[in-house]
Amino acid sequence: MDEACQKENETAERVYHQPVSPWALENLPGDPMMWILIVSEILVFGGALWAFAGNELLNPEIYREARTHLNVPLATLNTIILLTSGLFAAIAVRFAKIKEIVKTRLALLGAGSLGVVFIALKIFEYKEKLALGLNVETNTFYTLYYLVTGFHLAHVIFGLIILSIIALWPTEDNMESGTAFWHMVDLIWVIIFPIFYLMGQGL
């Protein structure tokens, strides 16, 4: 009887309460501190993107010329890869909730592998630019390009480390916190990609 009860408790999903305030932290997925981090990261990247867009007013010709060297198809492919990685991470959380540890780890492996592919393609893109002599000192466009995409890349690497840690201890709370960081990386890229690669071309 006790064993059956224990099993039932193990498979039970986290119960979400009706919050006292709409701002209550208790119903946020994962650790509330992760959400403070997510908000601050959006603000940091937002500031950098405003600086990027504002600088176009000062250097419109430089921006127009610089954009012709961007590899838009490769960046589009990388966006799809990161979105698919996010899908795997979301699936991993669902498996963790029903205590399917092996499937949780497999889904996390899928998310992590696609993260590695994203890094490889980004490095290829940097190499392509450097071969053309476009480095961080070339002009304002490329200074901000390397700064913002490089900072994002650092987050992807850090996200991979977090995914590896939660794969070792795949509890529901760990999974929600860890994958929230991964989805934040996804979310930031979804904003960076169109602003750098799509807006301002013919658009």
């Binding site: 305030s21 959006i42 419109p60 838009v72 979301a90 602003i195 013919g202 658009l203």
Partner: protein, 101 residues
Amino acid sequence: MDTNKTPSKSIQMNDLLKAWVVLVALTLLGYGLSLFSSELLVYVGPLIIAALILFKARIILTRYLGLTRCPAWLSMLTSMIFTLTMICAALLTYGSAALTQ
């Protein structure tokens, strides 16, 4: 030897797959738009791209992150992303328009 296997538990994935399909479709739509070059797109293009960013961000927040149970946080993050993208779109539209004149 115990041959009884525990039945495999299943999860609902349809909503996640639908979200992923929409996200990929919106990404490809954005790429498709960047292939066109017209004077009208100089003014309207950044707004369309900003709308695509908002749609995608909203899907990630609700479907992937599951923020539907925290409406205040969902509204705050959506508003932040809206402000961020609209200011970028306005600046880039103004910059592109000044260059074409």
